[in-house]
Structure formats: C-alpha cells, structure tokens
Symmetry: C2
Subunit: 142 residues, 2 copies
C-alpha cells in the first residue's frame, strides 16, 4: 500500500510560492512540522522547517527540515538512509504548524526507534516504551 | 472503546515533578504538545504548554495548554465544552516535544472541524479538505 501511494510534489515554482506564502513562519523564520506515517497514523517526530526547507520538501517530495543545532538544511535520511517520502502536507487553521504525511523508510528516530515519542509515564517514572529496531551505529556508520 | 480507555492522572506531586523535570522547556518556558486521538490516530492540533499547564494536565487528566495570545492557562474545552481527556503522554528523544494521546469530545478546532489540519495543497492551491462538523457560533455561544 505504501509503495503505491502517490508522492506529493509541487513542480510549479509559482504554485510552491503560493503555498509557502500561506505558512506563518515564526520570528526565527521557522515553523514546526509534525511527521506522521501516512497509513498507520503513527506520529514519528516533530522538527522545524524554514521557508527553504519547506520549498525543497514540496519540490522534491522528500522531507527536508531545518536543523536548529547545525543551522542548516537537514535532508532527512541523507546520512542514515532513513528518508521520508512526502505523501501529503497539511497546514493548520492558524497557519503556524505543518503536518507532513510521510512514508518513512526504516526508523525516524536517531536512537534507532521507529518514533521519537518513546518515553511515557509508567508507575510515576519516565519509561522507555519502545525498543530500538536498529542500532544507532548501524544508522550512522560509526 | 474510548469510554473504557484509562485516564492518565499522576496524583503524586513528587512523581509529577520528576516527569516535568524531564521536559526541556524552551527559552520562553514553553514546550509544543501535539494532540492525537488515541484510538483513531488522527492528529487533532498542536499547541503549547508551560510547566504549570503540563502539571495541571497530569494532575487532572484533562489537557490544559498555555495560550500565547492570552498569556495564560487554556483549559481546552472550558468555553466550548470540547475537552480533551488525557489517555497517555509521550515525550520525545530530546525531551522538547510532547505527544498527548487524548479522547477528544466533539471537535478540536475552533472552526468547528474535528482537526485543525484541514488545509492541503490541491491543484497548486491551498484547499479545505474537511468541513466544519459544528458551527463555531454553537461552540462559543455567540
């Protein structure tokens, strides 16, 4: 099913600009983007995009974030191979949050877990409720 | 199924403090919180919490945000009745984003739509892909 789902690509630069103009980037020029696996509904991660990252995402159909720590574009999966193919993109009612419906190759989290949201309160403590599926060393070739 | 799912309440203040201490609030003292309907997987909205809002959420089992526009606690559904019961709470790998699994009464969006994420690119334009289920006037008694 995943392999057959359409890829969202906006090839026309003018159409991309119209869509990007609707996004309310914050004072830093960033917008939060939630990544959700399109067919299972699993929330995989949340990261940030600047206008350039959002434009590249729409132009290529591969999700590209802006890394606040590195201060540059973060082409998801460029190092690890764990790419996110863009299936659809949603903007919320006040235009300041994106929801990317993606097809995640492998795992989304740098810890090797499918989702970054693997910590939850259990018996009054924060517990890990999911195990890594891949060793981080295997992801990053260390 | 929803009605039978457990409510997450952390009654012990010391346990709440331990959990809150694990959250990395930003320079404004805020953390983004994604609300997802626990049984369908639908992403409903994204809003912000300060420590007080997160503590109230854990203490009551009802989701409470921090309204950046009003500068105060925003007990979701207090005016509209469209409350979010807390079923589980997840923290991400770097501790700076929350995912609340909720049972949403009615609709999450102030426009009367189930989810705030109802805008999507269609034919090069931003289109509304969901219709309001309730008139906003009915939600807010105008």
């Amino acid at each position: 099913m995943s392999a057959l789902s359409a890829n969202l690509v906006i090839a026309d630069p003018a159409a991309r600009s119209r869509l990007l103009d609707a996004i309310r980037f914050d004072a830093r020029g960033l917008v939060p983007c939630i990544a959700q696996q399109h067919d299972t509904g699993e929330v995989l991660m949340m990261a940030w995009m600047n206008r350039e990252a959002a434009e590249e995402t729409l132009a290529t159909g591969r999700v590209c974030y802006f890394s606040r720590s590195r201060g540059g574009l973060w082409r998801k999966g460029e190092t690890s191979g764990q790419q996110q193919r863009l299936v659809d993109l949603r903007l919320d009612c006040d235009g300041d949050t994106l929801l990317a419906l993606v097809d995640q190759t492998g795992v989304a989290c740098h810890t090797g877990r499918r989702s970054c949201f693997y910590l939850a309160p259990r018996d009054g403590q924060l517990a890990e409720i999911a195990a890594p599926e891949i060793a981080p060393e295997a992801l990053y070739g260390r």
